[in-house]
């Protein structure tokens, strides 16, 4: 028998996630920042990391957003194919949850209605929603607020197969180097390789959701993650770009099969406030 999930349940869950994700940074990110503080050699870089760590505690204690840029509400829905939704349209429920969460949580509304007319929608809707159908009768909702500063420094390239692993590495390094201080380093680097144009961009974003520092289960990909992390931290950008040896906290790579003619690669940068929270209904 199909499991029933109501409109109201989705609204409540999404609203809760909006606040949770913006107030409480994951323990994995906090741990990575603490480890970075021990390894950073630049005095200014260490000061920055101390401020970032102090900010995490203040935000949690005061229930304030970690960053004033509480982001585009990026929502991943993993919908069990046995689930039946009642009481209204699922995407309306997600948007109502975002509206409720951002308004009641005193989170900043950062969405404008049109790329050129740019009128603030006033409630941070619409959310950017990615849906996948999975086996089972659950609904997993992940909310990942994405700030503009790091999103703006992200990039995609349609490489050709001859470029190979070296071409991919060069593009990732060049993207991080060009971004410099802008995406609020230390960053988390999400990389998608393969698929097609939009698939590799989505892979890059999904890579940011992996628990920080957990390597890819594929040894060849895990090796590339390690090599890129070392190379990125040799760039010298450092915390907030003031110089230092911690530019990235982690590199996460997701791969997918691709066309015989193509080697797409996407780099989605995330600031140190690498926010995402999930719930399963």
């Amino acid at each position: 028998m199909a499991k029933t999930i109501t409109y109201e349940e989705v609204v409540r869950a999404v609203a809760g996630l909006c606040q949770e994700a913006n107030f409480y940074l994951g323990e994995d990110v906090k741990k990575a920042l603490e480890e970075s503080l021990a390894r950073e050699t630049s005095p200014t870089g260490r000061d920055v990391l101390k401020q970032i760590l102090a900010n995490i505690d203040i935000a949690a204690r005061e229930q304030m957003p970690l960053c004033q840029d509480t982001g585009v509400a990026v929502v991943f829905l993993e919908v069990g194919q046995e689930v039946h939704f009642t009481g209204g349209y699922l995407y309306d429920a997600v948007n109502e949850g975002v509206r409720k969460g951002y308004t009641e949580g005193y989170l900043r509304r950062s969405m404008v209605d049109h790329p050129f007319l740019r009128r603030n929608t006033g409630d941070n809707t619409p959310a950017v929603i990615h849906t996948s159908i999975v086996p089972g009768d659950g609904l997993k909702i992940t909310l990942a607020p994405k700030g503009g500063g790091s999103e703006n420094m992200s990039a995609l390239a349609m490489l050709t197969p001859a470029a190979g692993e070296e071409g991919v590495k060069k593009f990732v390094l060049e993207t991080v180097r060009k971004a410099g201080p802008n995406p609020c380093p230390p960053v988390v680097v999400g990389v998608g390789i393969g698929g097609d144009f939009e698939k590799c961009a989505l892979l890059a974003k999904e890579a940011l959701l992996r628990p920080l520092g957990r390597p890819s289960p594929r040894e060849d990909v895990a090796r590339l993650e390690r090599e890129l992390l070392v190379a990125i931290n040799k760039l010298g950008i450092g915390p907030q770009g003031f110089g230092g040896n911690i530019t990235a906290l982690a590199v996460h790579i997701e791969i997918f099969p691709c066309h015989i003619a193509s080697l797409p690669v996407a780099v989605n940068l995330n600031c140190h406030a690498a926010r995402h929270k999930s719930i399963t209904l």
Binding site: L66, G122, G243
Partner: protein, 186 residues
């Protein structure tokens, strides 16, 4: 690199004491403005009309705060990426007497040149440490363009607001110097 304490309005003499890498603590009044407000200010300059705020000697903080909870002066209030203001900044420095900017991230060659020419300073505060930074903002009031929501121009009273000098009036750039110092060549 030294600790400096500043209260706007800034003079040429005050700006001349600031060097890339200095830690600065600002106390007094600063303005908050970002993308949409900058666009409007420069449109007014183009039309030769007066600005809603007098920027002589003033400091603009590039910020769009999150809403204040009841009883609080402001929500979280970290810096936004300064580069988006680059198209407007040289004009503000040349025509309004603006002396300082606070944000995060690198500036264009045109802005850096204007900073030197008009004896101004560009400071960075820690991006994403927005709840921490909010603690040094004591009062906050919308003074122009309330319809812009988080992009309205606000006047903020700050106390020991922490920032680091990135671009000084001598042409130095902390981002470039810092990166060069810590880059590891294979």
């Amino acid at each position: 690199m030294a600790d400096k304490y500043l209260t706007p309005p800034l003079t040429d003499e005050m700006v001349a004491t600031l060097r890339a890498g200095d830690q600065v603590y600002l106390t007094g009044m600063i303005y908050a403005a970002r993308d949409a407000a900058h666009k409007r200010l420069v449109e007014l300059l183009e039309k030769g009309e007066p600005l809603p705020v007098d920027l002589r000697g003033q400091v603009i903080y590039y910020v769009g705060p999150s809403p204040a909870k009841p009883g609080k002066p402001i929500g979280s209030a970290g810096p936004t990426t300064s580069g988006r203001m680059d198209p407007y900044t040289p004009r503000l420095l040349a025509e309004t007497g603006l002396k300082g900017m606070i944000g995060k991230g690198s500036r264009s060659p045109e802005v850096k040149e204007a900073i030197v020419r008009h004896k101004a300073v560009y400071l960075a505060t820690v991006g994403g440490a927005a709840a921490l930074v909010a603690g040094s903002i004591k009062k906050c009031e919308v003074v122009a363009y309330p319809e812009l929501g988080p992009e309205a121009i606000q006047l903020m009273e700050v106390e020991n607001f922490p920032a680091i000098v990135v671009n000084d009036c001598y042409g130095a750039d902390l981002y470039e110097e810092g990166m060069a110092r810590y880059a590891v060549k294979d």
